[in-house]
């Protein structure tokens, strides 16, 4: 049922512009795989290359180890769910779902049977006669999925299909998509600029920037152990601390910044040398207000500027002595009433929760 998808050295150029550059990915059969990146990073181009709407300028797309070059989108074992869904407005829901069978010449009874099955799968039984414009956003979403599944594809490609929905519905659809994927057990390749979506649904994610792959890995891996400053700041929030490497001990490095020295974890693949310009990253939730008995190896003095209440968390915005901004979050369960704007406090964080990377540009977000 499911199939591997492999992109081998795929580049797509428009004139002299590289929409995708030397991309190498192998998506395993049955996997929920996401491409994550800001708009214009080339992820939609990659999706179009997989579905056959865009021939790669260089490299190959392999599905089930078969080279797909020269094979049109209507001949590939993939189905695409478009960003705007592209449901056919002149057809009923059932006709939409059974369209792929209709063009293959499947008989009417057969089509109806299959459409009903799929309607059941997406919990829209008995609504097949409705017109598309009579459905709500979430229902349209599900019809688009059913329509794509009717082809019995080996790979389902999803191009930011949730972006038009409101927050609550989006969150529900995430779970639903995940469940549908488990039930039909085919490869899902999902495209999004929303890191929350990517992290909650995917088995693995690939982070893209300006046409190039920055990092591929499991969600927690990418989150906890980013390989580039771009990934560190695009996936989740991160506070950068700029400085120079002054010492290396094992897998940790010492960084000297304008506000003091910190210790942070090094990535295996990116070796740093003493004297290198580098950035240490620490996430808002890894910074904490130390209490007796807490163990930590970095201390940082900040001056609180403002705070906001987010429900489960309270976010504080503060400045270091050098003027650099820093954000930290405290669980609402902890009493922070003594901290007010203008007060100076000391924060702590553990070196194992901080990452040091060679200096490069951040995600502007």
């Amino acid at each position: 049922m499911s199939a591997d998808v492999e992109l081998s050295d795929v580049s797509v150029t428009f004139g002299s512009f590289y929409a995708a550059k030397n991309v190498n990915v192998k998506v395993n059969g049955g996997e929920f795989f996401s491409f994550l990146g800001p708009s214009g990073c080339g992820k939609t181009t990659l999706l179009r290359a997989i579905s056959g709407f865009q021939e790669p300028s260089e490299g190959k797309v392999l599905i089930d180890n078969k080279d797909m070059s020269g094979i049109g989108p209507n001949k590939r074992p993939t189905a695409l769910i478009f960003q705007n869904l592209a449901l056919f407005p002149l057809m009923s829901v059932s006709e939409n779902i059974a369209f792929s069978l209709e063009v293959r010449g499947v008989s009417k009874e057969e089509r109806k049977k299959r459409a009903d099955e799929l309607l059941e799968l997406i919990a829209l039984e008995g609504q097949g006669e409705k017109k598309v414009h009579q459905l709500s956003g979430g229902q349209k979403q599900r019809v688009a999925i059913a329509r794509a599944l009717a082809v019995e594809p080996k790979v389902l490609l999803l191009d930011e299909p949730l972006s038009a929905l409101d927050l609550k519905l989006r969150q529900r659809m995430r779970t639903e998509l995940r469940e549908i994927q488990k039930r039909v057990n085919i490869t899902f390749i999902y495209i999004t600029h929303d890191q929350g979506e990517a992290l909650t649904m995917s088995d693995r994610i690939a982070v893209m920037n300006e046409g190039e792959l920055e990092q591929i890995g499991k969600c927690d891996e990418v989150y906890n152990n980013p390989l580039t400053p771009f990934v560190a700041t695009f996936v989740g929030e991160n506070n950068p601390l700029y400085g120079k490497v002054t010492g290396i001990e094992g897998d940790k490095a010492q960084i000297e910044t304008a506000d003091g020295q910190y210790l942070a974890m090094m990535n295996d693949s990116k070796k740093l040398n003493i004297g290198d310009e580098s950035i240490a990253f620490v996430r808002p939730e890894s910074l904490f207000i130390p209490r007796d008995g807490d163990s930590f190896d970095n201390k940082i003095d900040v001056n609180i500027e403002s705070f906001e209440f987010e429900g489960n968390l309270k976010n504080f915005y503060a400045r270091l002595q050098s003027g650099a901004k820093i954000k930290f979050s405290v669980p609402n369960a902890i009493d922070t009433s003594s901290i007010s704007s203008g007060s100076s406090i000391a924060l702590g964080f553990d070196s194992s929760k901080s990452v040091i990377l060679p200096k490069a540009s951040l995600a502007i977000d």
């Binding site: 189905a79 478009f82 369209f99 792929s100």
Partner: protein
Amino acid sequence: MMGIYIFIFFAYLFGPLIIMSITAFNSAEFPSITPWECFSFRWFNEGKIAYDGQHLAGLLSDWRLHDGIISSLIIGAGVVTLSVPIGMAAAIVLTQVRSQLRDIYYSISIMPVLFPGVIIGISTVVLWDRIAGLGGEGFISDIGRNGIFLTILAQTCFISTYCFLIFVARLQRFDQTQEEAALDLGASQTQVFFKILVPYLSPAIASAAVIAFLFSFENYNTTVFSILSDQTLTTVIASKVRLGISPALSALALTIIALTIIAAVTYEVLRRRAEKRYAESQEKFVKEKAADNRINKKYKAGFKIPKGITAILLIVVFATYGATQIVKNDLYGQSCIDAADKEKKSKFLEQLQTLESNELTDEELSGGSLGGNQDYGDIFGDPSLFQDFGGFD
């Protein structure tokens, strides 16, 4: 201030048409309101035998008009079958032409409507006359000199542009991902065309067909050249107008106006009904989704008497008043017409005598006000027409 101007403007638009419509009911030979002879439907029916013995055909008895209408219908059908597919093909290809070429392609497509109509007619005729000349005696020679065939080609030349523009407008709102979605679901390119694009374009196909037919039906400038020895409705009308204006033409115009208004009203009603149906389905959907009272309230629009009713009432009042006046003064019916004819016949005899004594007056009478352009007064058809439609005064 603005109100007065709008009133004058619309009076300018409608005044002549209304007056013309009224003249259709006056039994006098010359379309007029004053003097009002008798109220009559004769110009819609058989016309009349004039006091000097000439026959003035009415709508029903005018075979020349009937023939013209039939050829106009044939031409209209031909033009629709050619120009709608051409316009559609050209509009779809416009979306696929490279952007550098798009301006040139577009310019060529709209060129025909910028050409004066006479030129399209002439160029078609001269070309096909040449082709017919080369083709010897056979089929080609026949169709090359067939007025109806040439008119269909000539009209298709520029009416295709109108169709093209209608399709372009609709295609601009087409969501191209629909095509991609269909392809992705396994449809072939041909299936995409017939199952996605054509259904999407079907409203445009309908309106292009209607527009093409109407433009064809009422075209004169091109047709008058390309029709050769045949006649269409418009060339018949033109020859009648040249030879003297008759109330039968008022009757024809009124018939066309009535048909137009009926068609316009039907179209408007259908459109509103469709809109309402769509709104209802949306409303139902909204209600299903939200039991919120506020939303339900918003959809409860009050019933209002349409403004149009007042206008209709006014017309009814005027019509009733006019009708009672006509009946009161005994201006309706055969007796009235007979009386008027008798009077005129005697006057005519008198006139004839004066004419005989003075030839100069004769010339003045036959030219002048309605005989029309003497320079080439006889170009529009055979002289026998003149007998049916003499210039009367």
